[in-house]
Symmetry: C2
Subunit: 380 residues, 2 copies
Amino acid sequence: MTPAPWGPLSGPGHAVALDVLLDGPLSRAELSRRLDLSAGSLTRLTKPLLDAGLLVEVDDSPAGSRVGRPSRPLDIVPEAHHFVGVKITGDTAHGVLTTLRAGVVASADAPLDDHSPFAVADTVAGLISELAAGSPADVTAVGVALGGHVVEASDVVRAPFLGWKDVPLGDMLRSRTGLPVVVSNDVTALTEATHWFGAGHGAATFSLITVGAGVGFGLVAHGRLVTNEDASLGLASHHPLDPSGPPCFAGHRGCAVAMLTIRSIATQVSVALGREVAYDEALDLAEDGDPAARRVVDDAGRALGRFVAAAANFTMPERVVLGGEGVRLADVAREAMQAGLHADRDPLAHDPVIATLSPSFTEWARGAAVIAIQTFVLGT
Amino acid sequence: MTPAPWGPLSGPGHAVALDVLLDGPLSRAELSRRLDLSAGSLTRLTKPLLDAGLLVEVDDSPAGSRVGRPSRPLDIVPEAHHFVGVKITGDTAHGVLTTLRAGVVASADAPLDDHSPFAVADTVAGLISELAAGSPADVTAVGVALGGHVVEASDVVRAPFLGWKDVPLGDMLRSRTGLPVVVSNDVTALTEATHWFGAGHGAATFSLITVGAGVGFGLVAHGRLVTNEDASLGLASHHPLDPSGPPCFAGHRGCAVAMLTIRSIATQVSVALGREVAYDEALDLAEDGDPAARRVVDDAGRALGRFVAAAANFTMPERVVLGGEGVRLADVAREAMQAGLHADRDPLAHDPVIATLSPSFTEWARGAAVIAIQTFVLGT
DNA sequence: CTAGTTATTTCTACGTCAGAACTAATAGGG
DNA sequence: CCCTATTAGTTCTGACGTAGAAATAACTAG
């Protein structure tokens, strides 16, 4: 099947396709209500999309009302397009192959021993090719995400964890793979993935908080990502949380980085126990009742709750989504997190709805793929 | 002149009128660029608006390029409609009479000795009638703002400072004045006024912080107010700022209310000096170098800076607007505020653009009028 | 005085929409 | 088993809004 042409779509036709992509199978009647168009217009608008194969009629009878003529839901074909997403960390490139709906088809990693732009570009290009080779169809576009400041969806202005300044990563990968490549900030990418296909979907306003190697914060308001030129600095990551907490590398006592990162929690437990303890082991010890680990983890959980409170107080979201490699903290220290949340919330306030992502790096790589999907679907 | 009919306007005609209302005189050519319509459409769309008197051609030659045929800017007639805005505080009702563009034509206050809903409604209705009587033309609508939770733009669910629960203030005022009345939260109203006609105008995203009897926080993102059902609780007002600060009435040590409100600052300086000192006197003393006052005020300034930093870090605004009766603090303790701001910002981050409103209660009352203007102009 | 530039108007062809009338497919009741 | 009510989808048409071209207007710069 020839790939369905999203490019030339415009106006209401595009809106129809986008609504179906984002909100699963939808009948013409539902689309007419959502888009505020007449039923007749929907017939007219969907016909060329069905002819082009971009939409198909599915037999999935919705569980709704049983009276009247049954609706004929329309859906996209997720497998009509495939995308590769890569998240670059300090030591590994994590890659996924996804469908048009960001369903993960395959995943692969590649170690990054050398941080030089050329070495990284070579490794990432190899990873992309490997995933593309395993794809059942041609890859439509590639998304790459990393912690740092990216402009023009292509050029890395600054990536501290790689020691990069002004690296034209997009061009380097385009020339190596021959595929369309978009580069983006990693938190931006994860926020957009959460927005379009994840736990933030359907919420007009939500906040995303990630804990892992660092602390990330993303915001969607009125259905669009909120960002500015400083967003990639991760300004919320040094937000003060616990005046009696340990200092971070930048000297902020008890800031989010000092309280919530994997390294900080693991180090604190290691020091307390007098031996090297990894993050997951530290959480295991806390769960098993080790008092020192429990104290560190509860302090972190309380700090996380206060961070959620600050985010909710300032951004008034419908939901708060927690993610990142260290997100297990929210499970292990759930009570402490709730306590921290309530400490900085008015007793009359409703608790924010809190959703949790998988701690896997696959989520980040999927986020990168979503940026590629968005670029393909929205054009430019 | 008959009042221009905004009601029946719809679609692009409405967009034209709204753009002109918000962005001053605009030529047809500029409107065509802004609204992405052809020049011909602009002629067609503006003709009925000019005929109806809603728009007029002004002779204000713009200072722009001097080549080619001069543009004929279009403008609304601000004096075509008048609005009353009232802000209710614990002891006074502050009222203003404004034009369609929220220009203040007159203002008046009325004391509120009795907090009972009937007494307040009587007093506010009297204030509205007084301002309406002094209006050069009929008053189109009335806006009323107060600290509390308001639903349906009419019913006060909760207003702690008045001790109110479930007061149908809108109905009470409508029956007393015979005018259309909209009721709203005060911070919401000031945020909308700042958005449409004030220091936030033109910014897609900005944060508003008010300091006075309390601490208020409002957010506009992507050109729309961000709010949720808890927004009226003023959740940011107990945000922790200084672990060594005084406690607020709710027991939060060094929270925004404890650090930034007029009462708290005046009390701290009074205690330090052993005599009763009013807020403005406390700021005067700090300016004149009184060490105790200086310390309290600088602590407050630093806390304000950290509050601005938290707001900017979490909401990524283009601008931050400071307002409220106590906003002089930002002037008197500017250096401390900057220090507090920088303490919680990355050195690489740009300083947010900070604008300051007048400390007058007129600003709040004008905010209430803007809610009435919006309701009139946008319909419902 | 002429050429160049920008703004605005007028007119027309085209495309999109809502709405009405109609067909299709189901459930439920007698 | 037929009739009615209900909801979904199609076809057609008239109304409306738009872009685009062409004409006109009003100025500046030389």
